[in-house]
Point group: C2
Chain length 201, copies 2
């Protein structure tokens, strides 16, 4: 398989992390998400929104959206539970991640890493949204080892991706003790890999 | 089951539409998403982000995120395919919907229905994002009856919800002929129901 990948991207990292856990081998093709020409050339026929990650399966068919890739490869493994309610909870948190969590965490991180001069009001608005998501996650993790049924799953992988680098966007995790101990538990999982991003600034 | 519901909400409508197709009966509790006190009181213990739709199952356990509810109830029915690649494609479009499509479509619709005086630049930015999503959907639907494998699925239900009312947010569907004919095919499905929103302006 071929993963169109950007090392810094939390969404790409999710796929690399699950594949590391599962021992899945694949090739990588670097795509700069800020180079629109390269994205059109490389991803134009593979992904309707020309984003990374985009995966080309062994049979040549493409698959996009990080959480859809996680879902497809976790099926039948310990990373996606079989119990109907547990599965539904995993999906609840995957959609929470893409709707409420990833957008403010990713945009503040891009601003932070590139040292962009963003108006204070705009930055404050995104930090507020990010903190709303972190607070919801922290409340949920109170008394829980992992997000669903105290078992490490793709819900943890998806939410770890942008949470563990939240400081790069100016988010302070100090108030979120449950999140911080959960991050440590995720990082301690067997075959964990680091995001290993290139410096961008 | 009890659905915490706001009639105007496209996300709530998705659930009502799938339940209508499946003949699932349930009770509804009205929640005004703009009333933060009511949301805290009604949804505080049920949904980490206190949004509608929130569903309480027969056994009292809660489930949130519209597309997670669709996924859970479509499992084992014709609305979620069994084939691994087809399923992955359904999930790809469900995540596309929540990340790329729903946010600009929903915010412009709220502005339009409430006749809010939004700065032109801010409105233009959201309309551009909405049109990017509509263009991606229109390209994908070229030569296709439905979004995945020419078979009506929860991917169609999810994307229909905000697309068929896009004009309420100032989106013009005239350039998107594939989208328009697909909307008609969705509305022609057996046991289709209308969003039936109350007037808000």
């Amino acid at each position: 398989m071929l993963l169109y990948d950007f090392p810094e991207s939390g969404n790409c990292f999710k796929v690399r992390l699950l594949f590391a856990h599962l021992g899945i081998e694949y090739d990588k093709q670097f795509v700069d998400p800020f180079d629109f020409g390269a994205k059109k050339e490389l991803l134009g026929d593979l992904n309707p929104v020309r984003r990374v990650p985009t995966l080309v399966l062994d049979d040549g068919r493409p698959l996009a959206e990080s959480n859809a890739i996680l879902t497809s490869f976790a099926e039948g493994t310990a990373y996606l539970p079989e119990d109907r309610y547990a599965r539904a909870q995993v999906f609840q948190w995957l959609f929470f991640e893409q709707f409420s969590h990833q957008p403010p965490m990713a945009i503040t991180r891009v601003w932070g890493r590139a040292q962009l001069d963003i108006p204070a009001e705009q930055r404050a608005e995104q930090l507020k949204l990010g903190n709303n998501a972190l607070r919801a996650l922290d409340r949920h993790l109170d008394g829980r080892e992992f997000i669903v049924d105290d078992t490490y799953s793709i819900a943890d992988i998806a939410l770890y991706a942008y949470t563990h680098v939240a400081h790069e966007g100016g988010h302070d995790l100090a108030p979120y003790a449950n999140v911080r101990s959960w991050l440590a538990r995720v990082a301690a999982q067997a075959r964990h890999v680091a995001i290993d991003a290139r410096p961008s600034a």
